[in-house]
């Protein structure tokens, strides 16, 4: 199962949750201190930004080591040696990760372990593909990716790895069907829908179980991914365009009405059950998929010109948001408009929002080419003045 020290993971989780509760004012500072002594920090997890830095640097080191190996072997390089070397490098990186950084150093989400997970996975995969002479069937490639990523997910509970494993698994089913049976190719939407539904139910069953508590993030990601593939497999646009490109069938899809029903009903169902069960994943996935519904409809039926649609959509969105805010002025049915975040997290989010605003709305009158800014040159002290 998971590679990290489980006591350490539990302690980190307890400390995290208690800290949030401390900020919400539900526990006192003395209680927090007691919790901290009872569940000491075992794992090394640096700040998020330091993690990014360590990730980048580890990638630089790995690339240079690989380059050095290539340089040493330059004379005798061919497909077999290159593939073998990549495999060797990947296995070494993996061993280094497990034996040194995780077992000895107790690193957890430090950037170094994140980087090594991806480096070892990617080089083992490329090694396999190079050794298999680069002309394997797509389905086999997907299967290899799925197996490697699934292993990495089980060992390291990495969310992106879990998504990679799931998507490559679905891609394997898809390509395998097309490569081996004409009947499966025709029934592909239903096969993918069945697979996604099965996956969703399975992941939902696992999530919340004590034994899988360390995989909670992965299971959340997997649940939304399976909801999205379930929808896309039945979406009219996807069925029609994928059918056209894989089977060269053009024109309307047989049983088109069925897919149109799916296109409209599934997001509505997601949102409805998301609200019913207070399930954030269902709710947010449903809201995102509404955009896909709009896109699908507009692609085949131009009901109105784009600007009218934008204005109407904008008014609709603002009105909905306004109604929800007014309705939830005081909490009702367990819902609230109040943010869940503590003041500190809010400040960070506000700063991020400011950057997004500058990015999306920054179109301002720009001086054209004839305009030259003249004040910039001589002014800045230091080096620029002397130049």
């Amino acid at each position: 199962m998971i590679a990290y020290n489980t006591t350490g993971l539990d302690n980190a989780m307890i400390n995290d949750q208690s800290e949030t509760e401390l900020k919400r004012g539900n526990i006192t500072a003395t209680e927090m201190a007691a919790i901290r002594t009872a569940f000491p920090e075992i794992l090394y997890t640096p700040n998020f930004f330091i993690r990014i830095g360590l990730f980048l640097l580890t990638v630089v080191i790995a690339i240079c080591v690989l380059g050095l190996m290539m340089l040493v072997m330059m004379a005798g390089i061919n497909e077999t040696t290159a593939g073998g070397m990549l495999l060797f490098f990947g296995v070494c990186a993996y061993a280094f990760l497990e034996m040194w950084w995780i077992k000895d150093k107790d690193h957890f989400r430090s950037g170094i372990d994140d980087a090594l997970i991806w480096i070892s996975g990617a080089s083992v995969l490329t090694g396999f593909i190079v050794l298999l002479n680069l002309d394997t069937a797509t389905s086999i490639c997907c299967l290899i990716i799925c197996v490697i990523a699934a292993w990495m997910t089980i060992r390291f509970a990495d969310m992106l790895m879990a998504l990679t494993a799931y998507i490559s698994g679905i891609a394997f089913v898809f390509f395998f069907g097309f490569e081996h049976s004409a009947l499966a190719a025709d029934l592909m939407p239903f096969i993918i829908m069945a697979a996604s539904l099965g996956a969703y139910l399975g992941f939902s069953r696992l999530s919340g179980k004590y034994a899988y508590r360390h995989y909670e993030n992965c299971l959340d990601a997997l649940r939304s991914a399976s909801l999205i593939t379930l929808y896309l497999a039945g979406n009219y646009f996807v069925v029609r365009e994928v059918g056209a490109s894989m089977l060269h069938k053009t024109g309307p899809v047989p049983f088109g009405w069925l897919f149109w029903i799916f296109t409209f009903a599934v997001p509505a169902l997601y949102i409805y059950s998301g609200i019913r069960r207070k399930d954030r994943i269902l709710l947010r996935t449903g809201l995102i998929l509404v955009a896909m519904v709009v896109f699908t409809v507009r692609y085949y039926h131009s009901l109105m010109p784009i600007e009218t649609a934008m204005v109407l959509g904008g008014v609709l969105l603002i009105a909905t948001a306004w109604i929800v805010i007014a309705y939830l002025k005081r909490p009702r049915h367990g819902f609230t408009y109040e943010a869940d975040e503590t003041g500190e997290e809010m400040a960070g989010l506000k700063a991020a929002e400011a950057v997004i605003i500058a990015q999306t709305f920054h179109k301002t009158p720009q001086p054209d080419d004839s305009f030259k800014f003249g004040g910039g040159t001589g002014g800045g002290g230091g080096a620029s003045g002397e130049y």
């Binding site: 307890i14 949030t20 509760e21 526990i27 006192t28 209680e31 919790i35 009872a38 640096p46 700040n47 930004f49 330091i50 990014i52 830095g53 640097l57 580890t58 630089v60 080191i61 240079c64 340089l71 709710l283 784009i306 600007e307 934008m310 109407l312 904008g314 008014v315 969105l317 603002i318 948001a321 929800v324 939830l328 367990g334 819902f335 609230t336 109040e338 943010a339 869940d340 400040a347 700063a351 929002e353 400011a354 950057v355 605003i357 500058a358 709305f361 920054h362 009158p365 720009q366 001086p367 004839s370 305009f371 800014f373 910039g376 040159t377 800045g380 080096a383 620029s384 002397e386 130049y387």
Partner: protein, 325 residues
């Protein structure tokens, strides 16, 4: 918090019965971010749609009517924002209600549109293109402080940069600034960065809207580092720019220690590392080591990256030690 964990903690006597009661209360399901995203998308769609609508029907509506409409809406937004706002303070002031933030933002955006329209249609500012950007910038800056709005402040900063002829939004900072063809941009970038960093420092120093400091510094630090690195890569006096880079890095390091900011620490270390690595690579490139140079380069990167990893880990520990209450 999960009920099992609460029971476990109170079973071990780590939390008292009072806290246990508080923790066991069912938590409300917050839809804050979902609703806010809808609102944000709504504003984006509506403003975009109206823009296209006006553009397509300009012949039938007429410029004056449109200008009047924009001006009126803009004025109404500012009037509403002014009426509802809480009294001014040197410190952070909270928004009176949810929509207010968006109204202020809308008013400012409409003002920019208004000025742009005036300039494009009636050439009000003539060939003094600078004032067509400078006036909105002043209004934005004033609004940012008056209404205490971080989003408007970042708009003001990007506008100020545009007035100086440089782009500093995240996507455009590397894509639209052609440092290689226009070396003047390098000096502009350094000057702009210095101004913004000074503004950040002064907000902190004189306790005037302290929470604006991060936004000033964030824009300022990136542009000044990127412009200095561009100077190192492209101009002959690369050693001078390197000295400047070291000076800026030292200042940023000091500031990040002062403010306990992991973010500035990380970017300072990485930008400085890029600068040093460039110097080493340059030296190796001009040496006649041939293949040996490539070997040396790879060894340099492996060794130095390990050193920087160690440095980051140590710095993280230092910052964290201060961070703890």
């Amino acid at each position: 918090m999960d009920p099992n964990l609460i029971n476990k903690l109170s079973g071990q006597g780590l939390i008292g019965p009072e806290s246990r009661e508080k923790l066991l209360q069912p938590r409300l399901f917050s839809v804050h971010w979902d609703v806010n995203t809808l609102l944000y998308l709504g504003v984006l769609l509506l403003s975009g749609g109206l823009g296209i609508l006006v553009y397509k029907n300009i012949d039938t509506i007429g410029h004056q009517v449109i200008l009047l409409l924009i001006g009126l809406t803009c004025g109404l937004c500012f009037l509403y924002a002014h009426k509802k706002k809480r009294p001014f303070s040197r410190h952070k002031v909270l928004a009176p209600n949810v929509g207010w933030d968006y109204i202020v933002l809308l008013g400012c955006l409409l003002f920019i549109t208004f000025i742009t329209y005036l300039q494009a249609q009636y050439n009000v500012f003539g060939t003094r293109y600078g004032s067509a950007t400078f006036i909105p910038m002043l209004v934005l800056l004033f609004s940012a402080y008056y209404f205490d709005h971080l989003g408007v402040l970042s708009l003001a900063i990007t506008n100020f940069a545009a007035w100086m002829g440089i782009a500093i939004t995240p996507y455009e900072i590397l894509a639209s600034n052609h440092f290689n063809t226009d070396s003047r941009l390098i000096y502009t970038g350094i000057l702009l960065g210095a101004i913004l960093i000074t503004a950040g420092y002064l907000s902190e120093r004189f306790d005037l809207k302290k929470h604006f400091a991060f936004t000033y510094d964030n824009f300022g630090v990136h542009i000044i580092f990127i412009a200095t690195l561009a100077g190192m890569f492209l101009l002959d006096s690369y050693l001078l720019f390197f000295a400047l880079l070291c000076g800026i890095a030292a200042y940023c390091y000091w500031q990040s220690r002062q403010r306990k900011s992991f973010y500035f620490m990380m970017i300072t270390v990485l930008y400085l590392y890029i600068g040093i690595s460039y110097l080493v690579m340059r030296a190796l490139f001009y040496s006649d080591l041939d293949l040996g140079g490539i070997y040396l380069g790879l060894f340099y990167f492996i060794g130095s990256a390990v050193a920087v990893v160690r440095l980051l880990i140590v710095e993280n520990k230092k910052l964290k030690a201060h961070d703890r209450v």
